[in-house]
Symmetry: C2
Subunit: 233 residues, 2 copies
DNA sequence: ATAAAACTATGTTATAAAACACAAAAGTAA
DNA sequence: TTACTTTTGTGTTTTATAACATAGTTTTAT
């Protein structure tokens, strides 16, 4: 499990999004309540059916939210990057987690009691809107994802994932290599396909000079073509 | 397009869910703002890319929320039954609709300006929580749906849809016939399969004595078996 | 009431993707 | 270093489901 952080982290800069909508009083409360947990690579943050208690904000690292499906096949539902919030949906819906979360790489998470958060947002309309907007945005993404994952073919789904990864995590100094270190299996789970199909399709993309590979590092050579593949399905 | 209602509808009973969290003052405002629109069978309520303006509450009838996917294939994202709210997500996310909505049967919708709703929920924490809970619930459903639609086989997906329809719209006097009149195509679009596959799989379920058919009317004979089919995928 | 359109049903064929199998390579631990 | 596990890569087979075709049936419109 995660290890508690000992250092003090400057919340006003790390939680910037939510910080903006808080009063000074509320900020003090949050500061008192906030805890920090470090996770190593591939550690579980929460599991399916667990009771949600805390709002989580990823401060450092990369986290996947996933569901175990039919026959142990996992589906990555969404991926979290620093200064994104997660773990609150199930609490608001008054149900246990329907997903699990784990770290892709060494990560730091800030935890704040959901009881406190709910109490505060009932009084602070801007804070309420902050959560309403996040939920609304994520629901739109999920709606799109339902169609993309069910109707696009393997090539289209993988192309879409690569574009998503680039937009989410950015690129390295060369301006083209996606800044994430993912196993073929995770890439397959993100794109709803088997590992073998992810490997084969990546190899095809290399042959077509759309990407190039160096182990797990993926460099996008022809983004237009990748976008085209994603759009035609 | 929909036809404006002329009669006066008692909002306190029809909008019961949201009514509970409102102050008397707010109720007066809502009453003044609310409009009613009737839709005939298979009329469009809103379309993709349109700008959302109103909160919609279905008072009578049945509505489908769907997305047009690759090659004109539609995917039904969710289905609405009376006293359910819809149409608000895109407004909150500050984006155009990513889905379309249309009536399955003659329907009445109550419209309330989203500007008014947002203004009110910024001041009323209970009302904010009402929307947060709806969004959180729907996002959980969408997360589950992603896995079910992508990983289950045709039989499992259709079985799941039939159970969903029974739970959403209930049964007729015989206690077993699902109270909805759906074309095979809509059933296919709900379950992410082709019309031919929906027809064939329904026929198989009849042979296996899980359901019986009378035109579009579907009677569930062996719900346990249907649940089993849905769960094993 | 009648024609036209849409829907239902079923057989056949084509194909995308999973399943299986195994070898090579790369990490990881002792 | 050596052994061991995990990941990657590729070929072959199988299978679920889409695509196509066509006929019968029901619904809708005029």
């Amino acid at each position: 499990m995660g290890r508690k952080a000992k250092e003090i982290i400057d919340l006003s800069s790390t939680l910037e999004d939510i910080w903006r909508v808080l009063s000074e009083e509320e900020r003090v409360l949050i500061k008192k309540n906030a805890r920090f947990v470090h996770y190593k690579k591939n550690e579980t943050i929460y599991i399916e059916d667990e009771q949600p208690k805390d709002l989580m904000c990823l401060l450092k690292g990369k986290v996947k939210i996933y569901k175990s499906g039919v026959g142990g096949r996992n589906q990555i539902i969404r991926m979290i990057r620093p200064i994104q919030y997660f773990g609150y949906r199930a609490f608001f819906a008054r149900e246990p987690y329907v997903t699990a979360a784990s770290s892709f790489e060494a990560s730091t998470v800030c935890l704040i009691s959901m009881d406190l958060i709910e109490e505060m947002l009932r009084k602070n309309g801007n804070m309420a809107m902050f959560f309403i907007q996040m939920l609304s945005f994520d629901l739109g993404v999920a709606d799109n994802r339902i169609v993309n994952l069910t109707q696009k073919h393997v090539r289209g789904r993988l192309a879409e994932s690569l574009i998503f990864l680039k937009e989410s995590y950015g690129v390295e100094e060369d301006g083209a290599t996606i800044d994430i270190y993912l196993s073929r299996e995770d890439l397959a789970n993100l794109s709803n396909m088997t590992t073998a199909n992810a490997i084969r399709t990546l190899a095809n993309f290399v042959n077509e000079r759309v990407i190039s590979l160096d182990g797990r590092k993926i460099k996008i050579i022809n983004e237009d073509k990748l976008l085209k593949i994603s759009n035609i399905g």
